[in-house]
């Protein structure tokens, strides 16, 4: 007899959804969190798309502690002096059934974990999982923790222990850990009165704005983001790990430079930093994903590198919630069927393959690499803003140059060969297909 049926490690979005799903299926669930409360270790780059919660918590949007509903979604290209902003607004996103939202993770994750408790899961905080227990056949059947008398046995362990997942690594599910698959996210939460934020971003009530930025990271490969909470603005950068030090600029200096950009500075003028934070992001998508199933073990969320960083689409919490939910359901099913070996748990992989979780990643497999490639990072923002700069600069008495001429000249100025441009365009077209 095991201590419990299912152990979920980590009470983030993946873990809590796994716990809710397994508890709803009638299993005994212990949800273990190393922070003093769920969400206390968690930080992200801005938007939660909770549609997937419809299945687990049908009225989630009535209760989830969100800050603002995103009604303006912008993608911004920054050169040193220019900015091209593609901005879409839809107030419909700010009404039921809603689309994306900003939230403080210590609020949102804690709320989600409380839903797991309400569903019958047992939440244990302030407990760091230190390893896996195995039975005589080598199957995983529990965990060790840093608590006295801290071993706990179960039929299935679901590892939702985040980007560093020592559980997935200990279970041998990652081939090798390559730093180039990871980015470092650093963020400042800036305090401003709500009325000022509303005015500067052109929103009201609980309408919010999310701006994703390419360029503006001081020559380090990565990107930036700005989004609105009720009375704070979050500004951050995402930096590719290897050679982060090549530019000799520290992460907080790169944020400071982004904040000084003429297109960004007026948005955040007078704001005070109330919290500085940092977190790793598994950025490389399908190519870095571990095996997600072993005997007695499932992996979900960031622990399984289920984070979509595909340029215009930057999502993670929804992938975590979905994979967690499917893991919880599959674990419960496998238990009921009496087979919790890797074979018995394969319904999880099947479910991931059938749904957006892996379908999106397969479709966009090449995009993360393209977005973080040197050309996209260092040449295209200047190239594109250069074209727009010249298209709209009126040089009378000279007549307007033809667009093709501008394209050719700007391409040469940016040092992009026609071949590379065509190749990247094709990769992009195919990738986003």
């Amino acid at each position: 007899m095991t201590d419990t049926d299912i152990i979920v490690v980590g009470a983030g979005p993946a873990g809590s959804c796994a716990a809710i799903a397994a508890a709803k299926a009638g299993k005994r669930v212990v949800l273990i969190e190393r922070g003093p409360f769920p969400g206390s270790k968690n930080m992200y780059g801005g938007v939660i798309y909770p549609r997937i919660l419809d299945e687990l918590i049908p009225d989630w949007f009535e209760h989830a502690p969100i800050q603002r509903w995103i009604v303006r979604r912008s993608t911004m290209l920054l050169s040193d002096t220019g900015a091209l902003n593609i901005d879409y607004r839809s107030n419909a996103w700010g009404q039921a059934p809603y689309n994306g939202a900003t939230a403080y993770r210590p609020d949102f994750d804690n709320w989600l974990a409380q839903q797991a408790v309400a569903a019958g899961a047992e939440l244990i905080c302030s407990t760091t999982v230190t390893g896996l227990l195995r039975d005589a056949q080598g199957r995983i059947n529990g965990i060790t923790t840093d608590r006295p008398d801290g071993d706990l046995t179960a039929s299935v362990v679901i590892a939702c222990d985040g980007v560093n997942s020592f559980i997935a690594k200990e279970a041998g599910l990652y081939k090798a850990v390559d730093a180039s698959n990871y980015t470092l996210g650093v963020k400042e939460t800036l305090s401003l009165p709500k009325s000022v934020i509303d005015e500067r971003f052109g929103v009201r009530d609980n309408q919010g704005v999310d701006i994703e930025i390419l360029g503006g990271t001081s020559g380090v490969n990565g990107g930036g983001f700005i989004y609105t909470n009720l009375d704070t603005i979050a500004v951050g950068v995402v930096l590719k790990l290897p050679k982060l030090s090549a530019q000799k600029k520290r992460p907080e200096e790169i944020i400071a430079e982004l904040k000084r950009h003429p297109a960004i500075a007026p948005l955040i003028e007078g704001a005070e930093v109330i919290e500085y934070s940092a977190h790793l992001i598994p950025e490389a998508g399908l190519d870095m994903m571990p095996k997600m199933v072993a005997d007695g073990l499932l992996v979900a969320g960031d622990a399984a590198a289920l984070c979509l960083a595909a340029g215009i689409w930057l999502e993670g919490v929804n992938f975590a919630m979905a994979s967690g939910m499917y893991a919880g359901q599959s674990a419960a099913q496998a238990m009921t069927a009496g087979n919790t070996t890797a074979a018995g748990l394969q319904t999880y992989t099947k479910k991931l393959n059938e749904t957006f979780v892996l379908k999106d990643h397969k479709k966009l497999r090449k995009i993360p690499h393209l977005v973080l490639s040197d050309r996209v990072q260092h040449k295209y923002p200047g190239f594109v803003t250069g074209i727009v700069e010249r298209m709209f600069r009126v040089e009378n008495p000279h007549p307007k140059p033809g667009v093709r001429r501008i394209l050719r000249e700007e391409r040469k100025k940016a040092g992009i060969s026609l071949m590379d441009l065509v190749r990247d365009a094709l990769t992009g077209l195919k990738g986003f297909g």
């Binding site: 922070g35 003093p36 210590p106 790990l241 904040k259 000084r260 704001a271 919290e275 934070s277 790793l280």
Partner: protein, 111 residues
């Protein structure tokens, strides 16, 4: 109308204004529940031979400080537990990395 007079007329201050933070002030915005035992240890001998010192630039909490004798001084107290240091480290075995004891370490409030 010149930019200056426009600004004066509209009571707009020059350029951007926000308080620049010292690194200590920046770190002080986050809450750390510090355990007496270090959860990360750095082997100074390995660091002496290291030429790249990625950690010094990359660590978002600025916990790696080069010393004049070629070593690295490391403080664990204000660690975000992100994992950047062991990911970027080139010297195998230089950084021993674990999470702090449950309930300790970084506690985010509005992230």
């Amino acid at each position: 109308m010149s930019l200056e007079s426009l600004r004066a007329a509209n009571n707009i201050e020059r350029d951007t204004t926000w308080a620049e933070l010292s690194f200590q002030e920046r770190i002080d915005t986050a809450e750390f529940r510090i355990h007496e035992r270090a959860h990360i240890t750095v082997n100074g001998d390995s660091c002496r031979g290291c030429t790249t010192r990625e950690c010094v630039v990359a660590c978002p909490a600025n916990l790696f400080v080069p010393t004049s004798d070629g070593g690295i001084l490391f403080n664990y107290e204000n660690c975000f537990e992100c994992g950047t240091c062991y990911m970027v480290c080139n010297e195998a075995g230089a950084i021993t990395w674990t999470y702090p004891e449950g309930g300790y370490g970084i506690v985010f409030h509005r992230t």
